[in-house]
């Protein structure tokens, strides 16, 4: 049973790392980035290509992945999301166009990687990092699992601090509440949006590298399922709430581990999808979310 808890914690941390980036961009600058899964997978792929030529350690691989993710995400913001926001008549159409544009852009990296890997899984084969396994009283925990847990904990706290206690964070939250008024108060929306998207992409990159280390290998399609699960986590916790995302990730991970334990593999994915429906119906603003105020 305690083994179950450890497994769920590690899985939840992976989910958390993945959805933190999505959560901050959606909660602050109103961009639900559906290319996040593509960025996540593509950064890990670039890192795996580099690592297959040069043997690198865990930290370097993660750094490469973070940089690739941040660059990709910033580029998507500049070339896709900002033009959409500039052109859209109102917020509702902008929201939908961003979703559709994101889905379109997200298929590009997936298609490229499918083409390059022939849809085979890929991992960090040349990496000098070796997983060690700790056992304590019959419980198993890998060093990678430990790193994942640590990263998730530290980054959640750091981002929560960034959003709550810095002037950047204040400006970002102001944009989230009312972007026009925030701009009138001197908030530089464009720059902050770029920064947020870069941070979000960097987190996706880190999650990609760590998940690849944790599982050994991932496939081109790995981002897609995670994307919908991340959506479930974010609405469960409440859009824009870092603590909510952490709780949501753990709830989803624990439910999945339990379902896996008691029913066998097939129904695991239904947990996330079912969760989306249930949460949206019962408490659309999430557990910690603020009541959504529709601006017309």
């Amino acid at each position: 049973m305690s083994q179950l808890v450890i497994d769920a914690l590690v899985l939840g941390s992976i989910y958390l790392l993945f959805c933190l980036g999505m959560s901050i961009s959606w909660g602050t600058i109103d961009i639900l980035n559906f290319a996040h899964g593509g960025i996540f997978m593509f950064s890990a792929f670039v890192a795996s290509q580099i690592v297959s030529n040069v043997g690198l350690g865990l930290v370097t691989v993660c750094l490469i992945s973070v940089v690739v993710g941040a660059a990709l995400s910033a580029a998507i913001d500049v070339f896709a999301f900002q033009p959409i926001l500039r052109r859209a008549k109102n917020q509702r159409t902008a929201e939908l166009q961003i979703l559709i544009g994101g889905i379109g852009i997200g298929t590009i990296p997936v298609a490229i990687v499918q083409f390059r890997t022939l849809s085979e899984p890929f991992g960090f084969l040349g990496s000098s990092y070796e997983t060690s396994v700790y056992t304590l009283g019959g419980l198993r925990l890998t060093s990678t699992g430990l790193i994942v847990l640590g990263c998730a904990l530290i980054l959640t706290l750091a981002i929560s601090f960034w959003l709550k206690n810095t002037s950047h964070g204040l400006a970002l939250r102001a944009i989230g509440v009312d972007s026009e008024t925030a701009e009138l108060m001197g908030v530089k929306r464009r720059q902050l949006s770029l920064l947020t998207m870069a941070v979000s992409g960097g987190l996706a990159g880190l999650a990609g590298a760590l998940l690849t280390y944790n599982l050994g290998a991932i496939t081109a399609e790995s981002g897609e399922t995670l994307l919908i699960k991340a959506f479930a986590i974010i609405i469960l916790g409440g859009v824009g709430s870092t603590g909510g995302a952490a709780l949501g990730a753990m709830v989803l991970a624990f439910s999945e581990v339990l379902v896996l334990r008691y029913t066998g593999g097939g129904w695991v994915d239904a947990v996330g999808f079912g969760l989306i429906l249930v949460v949206l119906l019962l408490r659309p603003q999430g557990i910690f979310g603020r009541k959504e105020v529709r601006r017309v």
Partner: protein, 328 residues
């Protein structure tokens, strides 16, 4: 002609079924309901027909009728459940519904054939392209009807400004519920006809890829009218054949096309064409206006001259200072 027909029969069939799939999602977009439920109904239509034919010995027509009725009812129930949601939240709830249908297809055991799916759906009477064409013609005729006259205006009002629409006495909630029912009918029809043609279905043929395909078609063709959907369906069924050298890069090209269309031409191809037409009409109008203004200016100038002459005359007679045209 008949050579072309027989060598491309699969493509012709899928043009029709893909058209039905895309219409089942577009009809909801047109009513301002951002839902992907059509993709789920398409999956249910395929699986339902296969199950009715294989496990219960239905013929093609009664199997299709049964699953269309089931999907219409499911659509109605779904609309009741989801009626509080709008925008992104509604979109994601329907994506979740699509994914749940896929998970059920994966885990349905013997009923759905698990990850292998169902195959060998052969029926009498055999359904062929003429049947498809008739069904699509009826559907398109209904779409044309719904885009014209007072019906068309009501739907536009429901999409563009629900508050205004309900102030005008339109029951917006009812239109939204109806959109789910119609989506259920169209999606199920598309799915049913698809399996009756192709005779096999597997979980990887339904779900998220269907959403992406339908979105691609709607966004590139244009979401406002059935014509846009038809153009999109034609492009994305035939483009892969036309561009055989693209081959493996196909999905990369698709992604780029969708992204560009979403960013730069939110109205799709039909939107761009309509805009061009309107802009040209506007230019014609403004050119006409300019001509008028020019004529007026000339008339004014003539008045001024006359006034100046009059002024000069007056000055000549030693009256007040001459009025000039400048004051005008």
């Amino acid at each position: 002609m008949s050579d072309f027909y027989f060598s491309n029969i699969v493509l012709i069939q899928s043009t029709f079924t893909v058209l039905l799939l895309a219409l089942s999602i577009q009809i909801q977009f047109r009513m301002g309901v951002f839902s992907f439920a059509g993709a789920a109904f398409y999956g249910m239509g395929s699986y339902g027909t296969a199950i009715f034919v294989l496990h219960y010995g239905f013929d093609a027509i009664s199997a299709t009728a049964a699953i269309v009725a089931i999907c219409a009812v499911t659509g109605y129930l779904l609309s009741l459940i989801l009626q509080r949601l709008t925008g992104l939240y509604l979109a994601m709830a329907t994506v979740a519904f699509v994914m749940i249908v896929t998970v059920v297809a994966h885990n349905g055991g013997e009923l759905t054939g698990g990850s292998v799916g169902l195959f060998g759906v052969l029926t009498t009477p055999e359904i062929s392209v003429p049947h498809l064409a008739v069904v699509c013609a009826v559907v398109v005729a209904a779409m044309i009807f719904s885009e014209r006259g007072s019906m068309g205006r009501r739907i536009e009002a429901v999409r563009e400004d629900p508050e205004l629409a309900s102030a005008m006495g339109i029951n917006v909630a009812r239109y939204r519920r109806m959109s789910f029912v119609i989506s259920g009918v169209l999606g199920a029809l598309g799915g049913a006809l698809n399996i009756l043609m192709m005779t096999a279905i597997a979980p990887e043929n339904i779900g998220f890829p269907l959403i992406v395909l339908a979105l691609t078609i709607i966004i590139v063709g244009g979401s406002r009218s059935w014509l846009g959907v038809l153009i999109g369906a034609l492009i994305f069924t035939w483009l892969p054949v036309m561009l055989e050298q693209v081959g493996t890069y196909q999905s990369i090209v698709y992604g780029i096309i969708v992204a560009i269309a979403a960013i730069f031409m939110p109205g799709g191809i039909t939107g761009v064409v309509t805009d061009l037409y309107r802009r040209r009409a506007a230019r014609r109008d403004s050119a006409a206006l300019e001509d008028e203004a020019e004529a007026e200016r000339r008339a004014d100038a003539a008045d001024d001259e006359a006034a100046a002459e009059l002024g000069a005359e007056l000055a000549g007679t030693g009256a007040h200072s001459a009025p000039t045209g400048e004051s005008r």
